[in-house]
Symmetry: C2
Subunit: 77 residues, 2 copies
Amino acid sequence: MNTAIFYHAGCPVCLSAEHLVADALDHSKYTVEVVHLGEQAARIEEAQTAGVASVPALLLNRQVFHINFGAALSDLQ
Amino acid sequence: MNTAIFYHAGCPVCLSAEHLVADALDHSKYTVEVVHLGEQAARIEEAQTAGVASVPALLLNRQVFHINFGAALSDLQ
C-alpha cells in the first residue's frame, strides 16, 4: 500500500486543499493520513525531515508536493 | 463525474508531479486530463482564465492548486 500524508495547519488555504485534494486521492491505492501540525506540533520535525517547507503539503511515498501556500513550517514552531 | 485537469509544461518538476499526483487521483471519481501547455499553447488562455499562474497545477472542479513550482505561465507565452 502506498502512503499519502497531508500536512496542514488549519488555515483556510489548507482546509480547501485538504477537502479537495485529500478526498480526490485514490483511497484504494493510498492510505491517506491527515496531520494538523498546529495541533500535533510533535510531528513538525518529522515533516521537516521529509522535506516539507510550508503547508499545505502532500507527501506521496516520501516525495513532497507543496500545494499552494498557507504558512511556512518555520512559522508553526 | 468530477473533472481534474493537470497542466504542466514538460519540466522535471512537472513530470514528477504528473506521475505521482495525477496517478494518485481516484479515477473512478475524477475524469483526469493531462495538458502539456508547451505542446498545446492554444490552451494557455484557458488555464489562465481558470486561475493557473504557474505549472504544474491541478484544477479540481474549477479550483486551482499550484503544486511546487516549475515555471510561470507567463514564461510559456
